[in-house]
Amino acid sequence: MQEIVLNRITPLNEAQKRANAVFADKDGWTLPQSFSTTLEEYRAIREGAALVDRSYYGRLRIGGNDALDLLNRLSSNKVIDMPSGEGVSTVLTTNKGRIIDLLLVMNMGEDLLVITSPQTPSKVVEWLDLYTFGEDVTVEDVTEETALISLMGPKAGKILGTAAAEALPLYGVAEVTIGDIQLPVIRTDVLGIASYDLLTTRPQAEKVWAALAQAGAVAVGEEALETVRVEQGVPRYGREMGEEFNPLEAGLNSSISYVKGCYIGQEVVLRLNTYDKVQKHLMAIAFEEDSPAIATHMEIEGKDAGILTSVVDSPILGYALALGYIRTSYAEPGREVDVRIGDRLTKGKVLELPVKKA
């Protein structure tokens, strides 16, 4: 008998249905693809204020006196001594320097909030548990009992209603009131665009979503988000992040401290960086004439040059744009690559990330 695996839904599923969202499956979840048109929603992220349900990202509450120390020993950025109200992005790496996951770690005062990739909260919990011996650390997966609602775009900050919240530094935490609900807001800029993540309880989620929509934020689905993500060159778990890649290949330099001392994988990451031994790089590749599929190989002069990991139609360019890992010797803007689509060859051009208007 075949087992039927049901996708998970977020606490906002009913509200999104009422807003006529079109749904599709992604990373084990049923999520809104779009509410209106992808282009309108794309513009809300690029030029306005977008309302995004990020509840499918994993959320862990980590407590105990040794929590910061443990995360500091296990991940690539400096986490130790992080004051309340601040945060950091950091990569859990294997001892070979490969990516377990990219984490956002925020000191919420009482405890830490850790945002993981959608597929990884259990993996991260197991990884932390494996390396916890006698330390005072508690880890709780709170993904199910909370929701994460994001405001994105140049006008997103205005909707928060306070100058202090709007001016938050990256990964900074503040309290805001949305409707009559007090809740924490975190500046995350996850797509390299101003963005604020609001952490609500499950029962509050619909009310907060409605209040933000009422205030003018435009509900946006995964299609527009994915388009902006690819243009901005932000790696996604399962596509550009995972144990096949190291953080330097994935362009996660801003999540690495080179002076903090030892963490699992540090020796490898440091060596790759110092001796310029990074084998491949995440780059954008533009395709004017055709739209290749994910996992297609790129060739330069008949030699394998890398692989495509994500493909979208880019409004900035007006044609197909891919993310892909390209061998370091070929990873320079302007390079032309050949890609096979069926029995045809089509040309792509390597671009720098984030992609800008020509």
């Binding site: 443990l70 020993r73 296990l74 294997t94 001892n95 494996l130 390396y131 916890t132 011996f133 006698g134 330390e135 030892c262 963490y263 699992i264 994988g265 540090q266 020796e267 490898v268």
Partner: protein, 110 residues
Amino acid sequence: MPLTISISDKAAKKAKEFANKDNLGDFGLRVGVKGGGCSGLTYTLSIDHEPQPNDKVIEENGIKLFIDKKSYVFLAGTVLEYGDDLNGRGFAFNNPNAKTTCGCGTSFSV
């Protein structure tokens, strides 16, 4: 591979020397591992006076070793030694489980 943790003559002698110098009285050595270091796990060594309820207690060469259960899994077979040559001075863990160690030798993986 012996499934125990032992302490060499020399390491035991040194531990007693340090304990006498600091007037520690009745003492044991807490031996363990913790997450971190480039390879994944690092050794921990400290003075303790009593074992915790779930500790494994081993006595050899007049020294009591206290090891928590989870650390024991990674340390079974280890000999705690003391080196005083050019390659390093101080207590050292000779761990047959360690498959790789990092460049500076302070961390290992199994």
